[in-house]
Symmetry: C2
Subunit: 202 residues, 2 copies
Amino acid sequence: MTIQEPAVARPAGRPRSEKAEKAIIEATLDLLGEGMGVSELSIEAIATRAGVGKTTIYRRWSNKEDLVVDALATLKAPLPELGGTSVRDDLISLLDAMRREAGQPRSRCVMNIAMSEADRYPQLMERFVKRAITPRREAMRAVIERGIASGELNPDLDVDMGMALLSGTMLWHTKWGPGGELAPDLAVRVVDVVLAGITPRP
Amino acid sequence: MTIQEPAVARPAGRPRSEKAEKAIIEATLDLLGEGMGVSELSIEAIATRAGVGKTTIYRRWSNKEDLVVDALATLKAPLPELGGTSVRDDLISLLDAMRREAGQPRSRCVMNIAMSEADRYPQLMERFVKRAITPRREAMRAVIERGIASGELNPDLDVDMGMALLSGTMLWHTKWGPGGELAPDLAVRVVDVVLAGITPRP
DNA sequence: TCGTTGCGAAACTCAGACGTATCGAAATTA
DNA sequence: TAATTTCGATACGTCTGAGTTTCGCAACGA
């Protein structure tokens, strides 16, 4: 058994606790997920919740905003696998992923932050949008563009308008729908009504 | 000779300045409209912006929340007149009113508060929703129900889903659309795509 | 063993905002 | 004129939280 030399030589002294780092991130996401805004979020509350000293936080992040960015960044966007068999199926997959995330406080905080703190922390938002929003947006854009090309969608459709329809409707349900869980079939119903419109079809 | 005191006897002393009261409300709405959250909003900032002393604020409202409620209450909902000639026209009127409001910081703050502070100030929200949100929601519901009855809309349509489609799409554009003003024809385009759907029609 | 670094806890300084109190001036009634 | 109340301004004590420092202990390499 040979012990592998790490690529980067470990500096002398006690190594930083990976456990503490996890606990800090978890505590941050917990508090944000409980509806706390970035400005109400205090380093001291995070330290208490995580069971660490403030020193341990400041040794890693120079201020609250950096910590929040890193915490949100750990919420990777595990985009659903898209079957690619039909536009309808792929859109349902995307929207159902949104529905499932809306039910979990850990992911729900992403939406809370995105909706409410955009004006107040612009450069936080910039990095956050790049990491969390853009990948999902591009995935949906690709599906819609493919649908237009294949003839499944209206060739005159404005792609951005299609994205607004689908995402906006889900967002509306998330914020103002009946409290608690979103209906399991919500994604299907949204996609079908968006595809068909609300006027009668012959 | 005794004078019968009127029911509303003006008390002795200098009367409260109506102008100061207006200035306080205006300053509050200005700051909220600039994207400031309720928790960042400080009485001192309001007093400075309004050009009044803090005393003048505390003489009227006992705390920040009461002031915010009163300030938001002055934003009445001047719902647009609905022609009633067609569902399409009425929906366009409703959505175009939303578009116009989204452009004005004074009204924009309504949406900001509604989106972000719901969890944090529940009883503030309750009063606010009753005053500002419910009337608009009911107006749209009435239009959709009338459309279903008249055959202009799909008889199978879930009314709440229709409202989510229309309102959610507008909300999406407000928050994440290209910065600045919303396109003047946005309401028309949203209504038409919601009515027709995004799949080709024969 | 020794030097170095991280750990949690606590104390510290500093800033901002709350809510109250006080001031002289202004506005109003009696 | 006298009494009363509000005005804006300012000072005050308090509290909360940021960010720093210090302390004794723990974990690591040499």
